[in-house]
Symmetry: C2
Subunit: 396 residues, 2 copies
């Protein structure tokens, strides 16, 4: 018998793998995959970039790069962030293997077993997996349509021992779909001033806004509180280029970032240089803005179709968020109704989604579910939602 | 002040980053970088592969893949391993972000703070970093020209508590340059039969052999003991395609591999799909063998030049390994001589290498150093070694 580490007991199997399988089952309409649409990747742009690479640059792409990242990409990401008002000159940047690795590295350098992390309910499944893998205790604060419920946030920080990490995803939340209101964001910022905690702001979807009004709300806390000492920020190339590049970044105060770099030396030494070369060219050849302008209305149209069908087909007593960006709609059933029942019925009739329990750091609450409108074929949104609505009705 | 995790205290800064910097200093001849030569990457082959990719395959390359890896690559790596006699059907395979991540994941699922790992002195710097990051205690066993000193191996396993992990690099060792003899490998296999320990066999350089005789010695313990329950094996694409692809793999018994996959879900979800697509095509288009046949004599010629110059220029009392493959020569100074002194003198005169202490899990012994013949321009080997030999003579 193999004697595994204690931390293995805390690792919960995320359902991602099974969902990927079901997502590829022929005939099944899937709202499960939290991923961009395959037809929308900027393949022509990357083809053009690849053709234009010099031999020397390709050679660099085949080689190791320094642990913090391919130096030209570090500069181009800093420039991208500088234009948005980020304090790139007083902070340091590291390129990570997806933004998940940024969360993981920060967890690795901060958390002893039993340490407390405060996060939202619902929360990003990858972050839950990372915190669990270090045997952290997760306290959750509920989200309403404007952001975290402040009373719960305050209560979480009154409990002892003091939390070491606060993890939030304020912009087009996965899975909740919401964006924090100006007032709520301000309340969070005020609250943070009095707390001795590392705050990690996770923003993979901020560029996928559908209205000018939503754009205004995407100004990050890291930008607004540029001189704060313990605010870390992670972003990703997964939604603005492709998850298969496995590229994200962490912008953090130098003391914290130095430890994360040290941790990364033990995890994978550096992220793929080859895809970093491509991402750098994507940024410096100014292909990002045009690409974002191309995909935003497409995702907005998909969302509109989903919201319209939900409105038409869901029984009363069921509610859902009306996102202004991102990939997800979060559906709330009456409290007594178990989303797993609905899922089983729904799968039998040909449509699949992810149950709410998956996104609960406490793995408990299950009267909600997530619908991704990003990956499903657009003409399947209406029939798929109708299948799910019929399944819901059966149990109401 | 940020309150970091206890494990941060165990993380030692590897000198990789500083070495990368010094390696790119103009005018400095560097034997430091443990990496392939930029001029030798199979760029024409990858260009051809990229041009031939279908739109659908490219789309897959931009997308997430399942945590264990891009399914076609899993199959093609299994086929590659099957042809070498590996027990791929009774074990499971996961694609990792470099073989370093395979070591890291295994450490993550096995090691509690204070757990014992038995490894070689000298040992791979990345593995030392991974074990340190989990606060493991490392017991070292010395290497002679034939492999690990068996008395030391036996002694390490007599101490309590029992070690949880045995980590060896039997083939063209980094940094020692040796390959285990048949007799010593047999002794290790016999010894392992009686031990309740997970054994990780790390083999990134096995394909870089320079003689037929050396090839015979590269048959892995994992192949020879195919039915053993706790033997894990990691390989890498870093030396047979390019480290910038960040691809390696772990072949392990299903129980162990399932935990590693769970751990990987929290670390980076999956390795870069884009580079996995390229690696798969590299294998199935049969480009690997031709590429290996192209690079082996080039690296062999570089080694020959290094050994010849060492013979000509080093004073008596200094010895070094005569590798039959891989990238490294390991130089032993008299016990009283500190390699750091030699390094400083040598750098002042224009040549750099890595001191032995870097490869000592106990960070103590420092009368040796590593010379990489892989990355330095070939015509700089002779003048570079002469600089180092003069520096050695100064302190003899």
């Amino acid at each position: 018998m193999v004697r595994f580490a204690n931390s293995v007991e805390s690792m919960r199997r995320s359902e991602i793998r099974d969902l990927m399988k079901s997502a590829s089952s022929p005939g099944l309409i899937t709202f499960a995959g939290g991923m961009p649409n395959n037809d929308l990747f900027p393949i022509a742009e990357i083809d053009e970039i690849y053709r234009g690479l010099s031999l020397k640059t390709k050679q660099e792409g085949f080689q190791y790069c320094p642990t913090p990242g391919y130096p030209p990409l570090i500069q181009s990401v800093k420039q991208y962030l500088r234009e948005k008002g980020f304090p790139v000159d007083t902070n340091e940047l590291i390129i990570t293997t997806g933004s998940l690795q940024a969360i993981y590295l920060l967890a690795k350098v901060l958390l002893n077993p039993g340490d407390r992390v405060v996060c939202e309910y619902p929360s990003f499944i990858g972050a839950i997996a990372a915190f669990n893998s270090f045997q952290a205790r997760m306290d959750t604060i509920s989200l309403d349509d404007d952001g975290p419920v402040m009373e719960e946030l305050e209560a979480a920080f009154r409990r002892t021992p003091a939390p070491k990490l606060l993890y939030l995803t304020p912009y087009f939340h996965n899975p909740a779909g919401i964006i924090y209101s100006q007032a709520r964001k301000k309340a969070v910022i005020e609250f943070l001033k009095d707390q001795d905690v590392v705050y990690l702001e996770d923003n993979p979807y901020g560029e996928i806004y559908f209205t000018e009004q939503a754009l205004e709300l995407t100004r990050p806390i890291k930008v607004i509180t540029a001189d704060a000492e313990k605010i870390c920020y992670t972003g990703s190339f997964s939604k603005i280029l492709g998850p298969g590049m496995r590229l994200g970044y962490l912008l953090a105060p130098p003391e914290i970032l130095a430890k994360c770099e040290l941790a990364k030396q033990s995890v994978d030494a550096c992220s793929a240089t080859f895809t970093q070369v491509l991402a750098h060219e994507f940024l410096v050849q100014n292909k990002l803005q045009a690409y974002l302008e191309f995909i935003r209305p497409i995702y907005a149209r998909r969302l509109k179709s989903m919201l319209h069908t939900l409105e038409q087909s869901m029984p009363s007593g069921v509610s859902w968020t009306k996102p202004a960006g991102g990939f997800y709609v979060w559906v709330k059933l009456p409290e007594h109704l178990d989303a797993t029942k609905v899922l089983k019925e729904s799968v039998q009739n040909g449509a699949v989604f992810v149950i709410g329990q998956t996104f609960d750091p406490e793995a408990r609450r299950n009267n909600c579910f997530r619908l991704a409108f990003s990956h499903v074929p657009e003409d399947k949104i209406e029939p798929g939602i109708e299948i799910i609505a019929r399944a819901v009705k059966k149990f109401m």
